[in-house]
């Protein structure tokens, strides 16, 4: 009774429509004629997602607080210590007029290596195999496709599609994403590809893969990589921290060596991000990288106060004030 002729005809019709859509969209690629349909989706669902995100955020925060409790405790300790240091710096700055002027200049040039950003909030995430998120800014805030998205820790991804009030971000961990990148302190360049943040074993700790273009170039575990910067600063601006080399795959006959990267950004719990709306005027090189974890570059010029904020930026900053310091976490 259910499986009548009419039902089958409708089924056939719907399947044909679906297959046609797949074919048209697949062949069209980025300029698919069905793009309008997606724009429609962004217009209709974008505002709904914004509203629902604002409703569910407290719930998510509670859940996050439970799962992150140990890490947050550590972070609170860290921030407390940092606070203490900053307070000391501030006091010394008050005492020393010259120092205060310098600090001000440092703060002025800080701004994440000169990136001009637009803050945004992640409101939803992609389904299935794709590593994409929606953020709550769109074309009405001046966002355009192929802008870089960053967080306080480093590179997040790039904007792929922009709706009126929302935009879609392709995360760096997505398997279709590849980013021109550079090893710190050297000119060695390579390509960082996503491996997907989902799935056991594959993603896990190292959801990124870095391939050096020069097979003979030196690379070792613990080196950090930053973005190289694309032509015309789109889609990726230069100098954004990506991650740390976690392990290096021994070359088995291949021409390039592959390193697996642990990113600075936690892609499973993205919340506040920023879209780079204007790239820096000059390449910040390694200036935006967080301070080295090993205290090799301890700052001990006689002029610096007892506890210095960032061991890397300060000595350079006091020598040449044009260098960008590390922004606070």
């Amino acid at each position: 009774m259910k499986d009548t002729r009419r039902t089958r005809m409708v089924l056939g019709g719907l399947l044909v429509v679906a297959l046609m859509m797949i074919t048209v969209d697949y062949r069209g690629g980025a300029n698919s004629p069905l793009r309008g349909l997606r724009d429609f989706g962004a217009t209709v669902f974008g505002p709904v997602e914004r509203v629902s995100a604002s409703i569910v955020r407290p719930v998510g925060n509670t859940l996050g607080a439970i799962t992150d409790a140990p890490g947050e405790r550590r972070r609170a300790d860290q921030l407390e210590r940092q606070n203490q240091r900053l307070r000391e710096q501030l006091r010394s700055a008050h005492l020393d007029k010259d120092r205060s002027a310098q600090l001000e200049r440092l703060l002025g040039t800080a701004g994440m290596g000169g990136y001009k950003v637009h803050a945004a909030q992640v409101i939803s995430a992609g389904q299935g195999f794709e590593d994409t998120v929606t953020i709550d800014v769109g074309s009405s805030s001046g966002i355009k496709p192929d802008m870089t998205v960053m967080s306080a820790d480093g590179l997040v991804g790039r904007v792929t599609r922009v709706g009126p009030a929302t935009s879609t971000v392709l995360l760096a961990t997505d398997q279709t994403s590849s980013i021109g990148s550079r090893l710190e302190d050297s000119k060695e360049i390579g390509i960082t590809q996503g491996r997907g943040r989902r799935g056991i074993g594959r993603g896990g700790d190292t959801p990124l893969r870095f391939q050096l273009l020069d097979a003979a170039a030196p690379i070792h575990v613990g080196q950090r990589i930053v973005t190289l910067g694309s032509q015309g600063q789109r889609p990726y601006v230069p100098g954004l921290p990506i991650g740390v080399v976690e392990r290096i795959e021994k070359p088995t006959g291949g021409l390039t060596r592959t390193a697996y990267i642990r990113p600075f950004v936690r892609f499973t719990s993205l919340d506040v991000v920023a879209v780079v709306v204007a790239p820096p005027k000059t390449d910040p090189r390694d200036a935006v990288l967080p301070p080295k974890p090993s205290p090799t570059a301890t700052p001990s010029p006689s002029t610096s106060p007892k506890a210095s904020g960032s061991p890397k930026a300060r000595p350079r900053g006091s020598k040449s004030p044009t260098t960008n310091p590390t922004p606070g976490e």
Partner: protein, 199 residues
């Protein structure tokens, strides 16, 4: 219950549409952001389509599946080839609806049917990705993700099925009183919803 609504096809369509829309929004803004082990999330939309198909038969199942899939294809963070979810959900909706006609009303059968439908849908979606050569759906990814996703789907299915039955119950009751040809699915449905309510 407080104010029994009119028993009308329009009412049922509206309820189905609301169920799908709410599930889809919950999927993208809540479920997909849950930091579950393995980084895989249950597919609530698929579960809702399966539940709707089991309640209302193959016609409703496939139309609802097609529209839910189309919506899942265009909802903002989606970045895959348009039409993939529409195809998969439409097929799964039809199959589950057809299976519901012959389904025995023993206590656990509907839940097995939901689990089977969710498994088939997840595998089918991965298969379409592999056929299209999607770099995200390589065998290594699929083989590690799909079993875990099926597990999460099965774990989430009782809750989704219960919620869908809860919401659609009122309309089916009204239709039963009309005594038309919808009486049979309504009876089946009542049997299911009675059990669902005891969960």
């Amino acid at each position: 219950m407080l104010n029994p609504p009119e028993a009308s096809p329009a009412g049922r369509i509206a309820v189905t549409a609301v169920v799908i829309a709410v599930t889809l929004i919950l999927q993208v803004s809540v479920a997909n952001r849950l930091p579950l082990p393995g980084g895989v999330q249950p597919d609530l939309v698929l579960l809702a389509v399966v539940a709707l198909a089991l309640v209302a038969g193959s016609m409703t199942g496939m139309v609802a599946g097609f529209l839910a899939g189309l919506a899942a294809d265009i909802v903002p963070p989606a970045d895959h080839t348009l039409g993939r979810y529409a195809l998969v959900y439409c097929l799964i909706g039809f199959l589950c609806g057809a299976a519901s006609a012959e389904m025995d009303r023993q206590s656990v059968v509907p839940f097995f049917a939901v689990a089977a439908g969710a498994t088939a849908g997840t595998v089918l979606y991965a298969a379409t990705g592999m056929i299209l050569g999607d770099p995200r759906a390589e065998w290594a990814t699929v083989s590690s993700m799909v079993p875990l996703q099926v597990l999460y789907d099965v774990l989430a299915s009782p809750f989704v099925v219960w919620a869908v039955l809860r919401v659609t119950r009122r309309y089916e009751r009204g239709e039963r009183s009309r005594g038309d040809r919808l009486a049979v699915p309504a009876a089946r449905y009542r049997a299911m919803s009675g059990r669902g309510g005891n969960l």
